[in-house]
Symmetry: C2
Subunit: 669 residues, 2 copies
């Protein structure tokens, strides 16, 4: 089956470029007596790369039956060369039995060239490679399941669309307010507007308060007249407010989304948790697009740290490989690598870890071999910037993030060393998969060295914990590096026990306040077997948002705040995102630790199911593997598991039961 093909990475670089340039912010200017509210372009703070505008892709193969190939291209500036004879687009060429070499070539100034050949052996797909004169000769062509029809256009991202109408509309505060009942994303169309208008200002709000406060709202758009109705660009909102307007017009949204097949599920006796799971699912749905976004209202950007967490949620919700691969390529950008991803060093390290975790959850060796040379280029950049001791040092253009928290961060931070070390470890495992023995050995050596260095330099006996920085003399302890030490298993059991006591359960150590880092903390706690901490957080932190009517998970939540204080962030009155992917981690936590499903071999070649009732009396659900789903049903009296793949082991208490493919395994408790 033919697919559209392109220079590797072009689809991702092109759509990545577009999506990173769609952010706007609203600004209100005094304009004489009146004020004028406008939506203004807001650029990313990192270099955004576009695709190559030229591509030459080739395939050489022997065929044992003749075949006819028909060549299509998305650009007239293209041609196909069959055994040294060149033909223009839309040519039909018959290939006789024997060996052939077919090359397609094209140029597209305002996008990227893409090619489609019908045929059998020579039908276009990943098996085509970059031509030998290119500096990336031999790399596999890019393709995608999304673009397998000759009428598809890879330059238009293949979203789905659904017409959605508001659940209520009313006149209010001198304007008209529409409520969609929950967060939504898409173009807005308004019809029946009196004919004296040629433009309508729409103030959008994830909250009611934001929408009506149109001079301070984060997102306003102008709907302009087009074929008799007013249409806006695509935006995220729950509420639409048309200020200084009194006509109740027909309005609908062309809901734009990527149809994620959510094969994961979780239902339990606690309705709040069930609701939360669905809210997390919907949050992920809205933020899963060309890549995994941070939030759907404000940035709509691909951030390496946010994406990294979305990957894990994805493995328990949809196990959608394509979006992980696209996100990985969007984050990397094009050559040369001159800055960290999103300029944040930790995000570059997560990128390496994320690629290994992708392989571990999917078993997709093709992607690893495709991306491996790109990993090496990034790695060359990383290594060039390390200190003489081979450890991370902070350079002036590094944004050391880790978390919105106060660290002793002027020097080289322990948390960064942990991430760097884990990145080495993951690169080494990928090197092994790609048969790069030299790199594998180098990484393994470096991991051993770094773990020793970290334990020697950053461990503070007095505090019984890892400190942020060993050079400053402050011996400052934060949770972050210590959580990584537990998650990555980078210290001795004795030190781990010390961390649990002196950091994790030590209230004097500043608490994690962002759901971003809560992901890592809760993951670590669950690994320690402390599920109560996690389920308590589900009820208090996530439950707190639901109580306030959240239809999607917020970027941050502080139960001590009230009213519109909740919407303030980064110094903006409504700057906070109320639909933020990093809050969807309960899907991952419940799937991995309640349903208890996780791969133990790459791509679920082997896996274990170790369910935990936690605070529930019963639950059931499923976890998607690359090929199907693993079903788990647990009550106080029984554990039932079903998988239609081999390699599973059910663990209940200290007993292990092999899971037979295609048969329910029921264990009475």
């Amino acid at each position: 089956m033919a697919k559209w093909i392109w220079y590797p990475g072009s689809l991702e670089l092109y759509h990545g470029m577009l999506l990173h340039n769609r952010r706007t912010h609203a600004k209100t200017y005094k304009n004489g007596k009146n004020s004028d509210t406008r939506s203004i372009f807001y650029h990313p703070m990192w270099r955004v790369d576009g695709p190559r505008h030229n591509a030459i892709l080739t395939k050489e193969a022997e065929i044992f039956e003749s075949e006819v190939i028909e060549f299509f291209s998305n650009t007239p500036d293209s041609c196909i060369c069959v055994d040294n004879i060149t033909y223009p687009p839309n040519s039909k060429i018959e290939l006789g039995v024997g060996r052939h070499r077919v090359t397609v070539s094209g140029f597209k100034a305002d996008g990227f060239p893409a090619f489609y050949c019908t045929g059998n052996v020579f039908a276009t797909d990943r098996s085509w490679v970059v031509c030998e004169n290119d500096d990336k000769a031999g790399r596999h062509a890019g393709d995608s399941e999304l673009y397998s029809d000759v009428n598809d256009n890879p330059e238009i991202f293949k979203f789905s669309y659904k017409k959605v109408e508001p659940v209520s509309v009313k006149c209010e505060k001198g304007g008209v307010l529409y409520d969609f009942g929950k967060e939504i994303f898409g173009k807005i169309t308004i019809s029946g507007v009196p004919k004296d208008y040629d433009e309508l200002l729409l103030s959008l709000g994830e909250s009611y308060e934001e929408a009506i406060d149109y001079e301070m709202a984060n997102c306003v758009v102008n709907a302009v007249l087009e074929n008799g109705s007013f249409t806006s660009s695509s935006c995220a909102f729950r509420y639409i407010f048309i200020p200084k307007f009194s006509h109740i017009c027909e309005l609908f949204v062309d809901f734009e989304y990527l149809p994620l097949q959510t094969r994961g599920a979780f239902r339990c006796n606690d309705e709040m948790i069930n609701k939360l799971w669905r809210v997390c699912e919907y949050t992920m749905l809205l933020n899963s697009r060309e890549g995994f976004f941070d939030g759907i209202k404000r940035d709509r950007w691909v951030w390496g740290g946010d994406a990294y967490q979305s990957y894990f949620v994805n493995y328990y919700l949809a196990n959608n490989n394509d979006i992980v691969k696209r996100t990985t390529r969007i984050l990397r950008g094009a050559d040369p690598i001159t800055k960290h991803m999103n300029t944040i060093c930790d995000y570059t390290f997560y990128w390496f870890i994320g690629i290994w975790e992708y392989y571990f959850h999917t078993g997709d060796i093709d992607f690893i071999s495709d991306i491996y040379p790109d990993m090496l280029d990034v790695w060359a950049f990383v290594e060039k910037r390390l200190g003489d001791d081979g450890m991370y040092v902070r350079l002036p253009d590094d944004w050391v993030f880790i978390d919105w928290s106060t660290f002793d961060s002027n020097g080289p931070m322990c948390a960064e060393q942990m991430l760097l070390c884990r990145a080495y470890e993951c690169l080494g495992m990928c090197a092994k998969l790609c048969g790069d023995d030299k790199m594998q050995a180098r990484c393994e050596r470096q991991v051993k060295y770094m773990i020793a260095q970290i334990n020697q330099k950053y461990w503070c006996e007095e505090k019984g914990a890892f400190i942020d920085d060993y050079k400053s003399g402050k011996n400052n302890v934060t949770r972050h590096a210590n959580i990584f030490a537990l998650l990555f298993d980078y210290t001795s059991d004795a030190r781990k026990e010390s961390i649990v006591k002196n950091v994790i359960y030590n209230n004097k150590i500043t608490k994690i306040t962002t759901p971003y880092f809560e992901f890592f903390e809760l993951d670590a706690m669950c690994r320690l077997g402390d599920f109560k901490y996690m389920t308590d957080m589900l009820h208090s932190y996530w439950g707190g948002m639901l109580e306030l009517g959240a239809t999607t998970v917020w970027e941050e939540f502080d139960p001590t705040k009230s009213g519109i204080e909740h919407y303030e962030m980064y110094g903006g009155k409504y700057e906070k995102s109320l639909c933020h992917a990093w809050g969807a981690s309960p899907i991952y936590l419940l799937g991995k630790y309640a349903l208890g499903v996780k791969p133990t071999g790459a791509g679920y070649s082997t896996f274990e199911v170790r369910p935990n009732l936690m605070c529930f009396t019963e639950f059931e659900g499923c976890v998607p593997t690359p090929s199907s789903e693993i079903h788990v049903k647990v009550s106080k009296s029984e554990v039932c598991v079903f998988a239609d793949i081999d390699g599973g082991t059910l663990i209940v208490g200290d007993k292990k039961y092999p899971i037979k493919k295609g048969e329910w395994l029921n264990i009475k408790l």
Copy 2:
């Protein structure tokens, strides 16, 4: 005066991308009983880079009078930030007295963002710089004299247009033939076509034979119906043939050209030479566009070797700085540097030499400081590929060109070492201009070392000449390396004499057959004071083309051929270019050695005029300096020189006369 500004290099990369993707070749297919002739896309064999689609440029300055800036952009996805407040395009902002920081930012997917601010100090121009977060922070913004009006569009190259009608039209060979009397370039418009046609096939020819042989012509285009007339894309030709057509329709060409101000001139008593000079001038005019092209019919590409020679012709014809700068940037492309320019190693070396020569002829230090960091990146690529001995070695993806000639070229070739050495020398001089002492010293050391190595390894005492390769044992002598040794002064006077005797005047050494390398040979001969060789070539080689009716200079000419044999090249019946820039060297040779004008200090800060009557009885002419022209008039009885700049010295015989600015200096002979 404000100009449009953009990310440095974007103008050149954008137009370079477009121009390198405009080549087509014609192909005729059997289509049942009939045949179908089509124009097919022909891609360059090197990576073609596009511009960055995002740009952030900034200026910080103190102003002592308030000013109003008005901000324009070629993209709605843009904004201006004045002292931390952001405004949309078309905003007018008043800046009070004091220090300000103004930043413009934008995105354009299908081109490159460009910005224009009216104002005084903050009027946009090269004084703006790339923003600090960018990997090229601090580089000067790109601008051009071509785009100084707010209504200009830097994405549309600013050519001039003139309606030109054919000099004759007749029915012939079953079609209609139009003749323009000389080579021309532009869109063709045909009106009055009977209404049963919706497309016309036009067979274009630089020669009559090519045009009428439409199934074998190099260039055919389809003119399509548009607003009542048929229009083609822009092409080069002298003849247009519409096959299988019998209607004499109105046809004109919208001649598209860059108005080169040709400030150089040469007139003498020999009318053939005068005609040749004008033919060379016209050849240069047609090939001087976004950059210097090789030829106007076939490739229309920027090739480093061809461009290098065009630079020298330009300094004696127009001294148009902008086109040299644009060509330099087009050739370089974007980062990362992964191949030689046009994949040809000699062309990379010429690139460095060309930059120094640019400085030497123009004194434009701004461009040197702008391009210097880009030179370093190319140099890093070059050095990475050198042998352990620091000399050039041939790598598998290097195209070692030098000339269409037979060399002993498997090993490291002497001519490449000479070019590499000269590139080092020129980089070192640029490093000096930019205050990069370390690089300067390194280059100077390397030049000394390389000259010694070349003289030690490649000199063959037996042959009294430099040999192609010292490793093969063949001791093969060609003219090329020996010519470079003379031109670059890379050997002792004794060896130079030996070269002149054993190579230059040795008929057993294969003659130079291309006008491309003839440029270097004639330059060397003139330096030796042998003008006869050069003027004989003007009469025989160039004169031979004129005798055959050439209206522009050909890519190659062999007087032993006849008829359409002249048009064959690279295996194609009409593949030869009949309007090829590298044939325009007589302009350079006559200006430099007959008029005898050359700078001796950068940018004509000092210069000499050393006229030589050669075979002429009298001539007059002028040579453009960056600011004006130097006039020279010579007869058997008198030499007259005028310059309105200081620093000139007239040399007649062994006497030197200072040239007084603004006054004719007349010396009786």
